[in-house]
Symmetry: C2
Subunit: 430 residues, 2 copies
């Protein structure tokens, strides 16, 4: 996988075809030349042509879906979709087509063999083109199924895992239905936002008549590390976020807290073994108020110092949290209701989740402020036992609630990774 | 300027101070230690400490503002603001403070000397912190004054350049007042979106009580090159955009088409000499419809081929447009109403502009589609003589109008660059 001749292999180069010659033919009206000269049949063929996928390509297939423990890329485009047909076969066919397109795009290729110009002058291109000159950019495409997919429409009611259920309401929720829920989701992450947007757009395009966009969220800065090699990033409160996150290296902990185990999904829901539940929460941050809060109050609310990210009372970011440590005034260095305390496993019966969220700024709120915040994404084995008690604790007692507002919410079942010839939905619809 | 020890000099390192020690002091309640240990007085001091600004820093001062002919960075955060005070002195003071902060941030430093943690525990930090670990990232901060700034509120009516006037309406405009106009604008461009958002946010924060956000736009992919060294990027129609753009190297053409000349701004408006007018248009693209349009029709609408970006009838991207060339069918290779023809200088009495726009995706439109498009930014010497006739021609005849909708519009006068000790507004308010 690392034999690519360059780390900067664009879609165009991966095709192994001089686009200029092809296009000149098109301009002269020689449409028939397309199919013969524009190869790029599938990722395997392309790999052969170009010497392997780009080395900024993340493997698409595997035990688990990419985009969960994959080192968190810098940018994200997330979309929730509603299925607009009641035709079960059409839905299954779309998921199969998505698989093929997603695998191609993750390898740095165009969405379909015809690509941008290979389908001839009289057809709409099979790829929309805005990523034609761009690298694979570590693109991952992760799909999930919402609870509503398992209603009566598609005969899937008995396939619903017991854990896949709408989240309960929480104190302080200000959820916008237009930013919540959905039958399906696509999480596209990449180090180039144009590559992530391109991936979502092309899948949506292929799903025309089967799905429609319900809501969509662009994230510009990751807010968690998912491997130990990554530097901890900062959220829009200006604090390091995700220091104590689960990491890809924590294999046993991932089995315990992130990956759905066979015993969790008996019988007709066994298709979900090896998958993970994705909880999305759009958290608007009232940054203007936060920005007028004294440093010490900010730090007491979070429980870490702002510069280094060390737990209060400690020196370095990765020092363990010591809830017994006292400050100079004799009180706990980390206030008992600090965010890191309320969310800590020691206070939640050992609960942990894998966070993989992004910062966002969506224009202004119409009353003089930026509409900015954190698009929380958490992966977990059972949201009922992990996110729900954690959020109940935070909703009830977290002082940060003065500065934030949950404006969107959704939960999706992300199925396991795909075997060599498998496609999305195959296990679910079989 | 290029003597920095590394191309990856973060704000934190630029400060030349181990933040950990400072913060540990804060936790123990020794707030007084801050001012003494946390230096970073101004960019000059920092340069001395760290061996010079980061070499991914763009010079802030000069004949013209940075962010116009500066090689177009990959990401943008644009904000339009309304002045909410009638206190002329407060407005002038804010612009002066903005100058200092913008110069610091462009050099890769925090927004103010106190920075993230240097102000002590009992004050709100002077920098919001989310860019603390990030490089200068080629940040440029460009400001502009809207026509409305020159009404009766601030005694500036006689300082308004004649060319700074609201744009007329155009056929097909669907402008949203909540995405249009403004007293001031800030264009922040950087290769890391978090750095651009951080810059805007900190300037807005410093302007609390003086300005409020009117609208804001995030752009994720540049749509034009502004130097010959840059690869031409693609817009969300999948076409290369900006091939024939004015470039930084075209010094004479920039004087003719982009920079306001002394003779343009006689008398009380002389402060604008060396500046440029910025026209912003939020152009929603109906990408779902476009994506169902055959390749040849797309190419005929644009006037270039989709793969290479060559003018129709030519072979290579930078081949000159030949409106006399005929296709195999005997008709013009470039249709007479193709976008590139309507916008070409030969059809517009030699008019040219410098484009510097960005792709955007702002969630969904609520009816199943992505709210995506192009945030057009053009710089020019006189919008009345350049953008207005160009857009009149396009609005009347461009076949692309079936696929696009102008949903926001604004014009701003971007003053010239700043001399060594000069600050924004100094010439305007003097």
């Amino acid at each position: 996988m690392t034999d690519a001749p360059s780390s900067q292999v664009s879609r165009r180069r991966l095709l192994g075809v001089g686009a200029g010659a092809v296009v000149a033919g098109a301009v002269a009206g020689v449409g028939g030349a397309y199919a013969a000269t524009h190869v790029a049949a599938d990722p395997a063929t392309e790999a052969e042509t170009a010497g392997g996928p780009a080395d900024d390509a993340v493997p698409f297939r595997g035990e688990h879906q990419a985009g969960i423990v994959t080192p968190a890329q810098d940018r994200m485009h997330f979309v929730a979709l509603d299925v607009v047909t009641e035709d079960r076969a059409a839905l299954a066919a779309m998921l199969k087509a998505w698989t093929r397109a997603a695998e191609r795009m993750a390898a740095g290729a165009e969405a379909a063999p015809g690509g941008v110009v290979g389908g001839g002058p009289y057809r709409a291109p099979e790829d929309t083109g805005e990523a034609y000159d761009l690298d694979a950019s570590d693109l991952t495409i992760t799909i999930g199924y919402g609870p509503s997919l398992f209603d009566d429409r598609f005969g899937l009611a008995d396939r619903r895992p017991a854990a896949l259920t709408d989240l309960p309401g929480f104190v302080g929720d200000e959820l916008d239905p237009a930013r919540s829920n959905g039958d399906l989701c696509i999480q596209a992450c990449a180090n180039d936002p144009q590559v992530a947007v391109h991936a979502v757009r092309n899948l949506v395009r292929m799903g025309f008549g089967v799905v429609a966009v319900r809501w969509s969220q662009l994230g510009f800065g990751r807010t968690s590390s998912t491997t130990r090699a990554q530097v901890t990033p900062r959220n829009l409160f200006g604090f390091k976020d995700g220091t104590n996150n689960l990491k890809a290296e924590d294999v046993d902990a991932l089995s315990e807290h992130v990956w759905v185990q066979p015993e969790d999904v008996p019988g007709a829901s066994a298709w979900m073994a090896g998958g993970s539940y994705l909880v999305a929460r759009r958290i608007r941050m009232h940054i203007e108020i936060w920005d007028r809060t004294p440093l010490q109050e900010q730090q007491d609310l979070i429980g870490r110092d702002k510069g280094e990210g060390a737990p209060l009372g400690q020196q370095a970011e990765f020092d363990p949290l010591d809830f017994a440590a006292k400050g100079a005034d004799g009180r706990p260095a980390i206030p008992v209701d600090a965010h890191v305390a309320l969310a800590h496993e020691s206070r939640l019966n050992g609960i942990r989740i894998l966070r993989r969220g992004y910062n966002f700024t969506d224009g202004s709120d119409g009353v003089g402020h930026l509409d900015a915040g954190l698009f929380f994404i958490g992966f977990m084995r059972d949201a009922r036992r992990q996110f729900v008690p954690m959020q109940r604790s935070l909703a009830a007692r977290d002082g940060l609630n003065e500065y934030i507002e949950h404006t969107g919410s959704a939960v999706f079942a992300c199925p396991p990774g795909l075997g060599p010839d498998e496609y999305w939905g195959q296990a679910l619809f079989s």
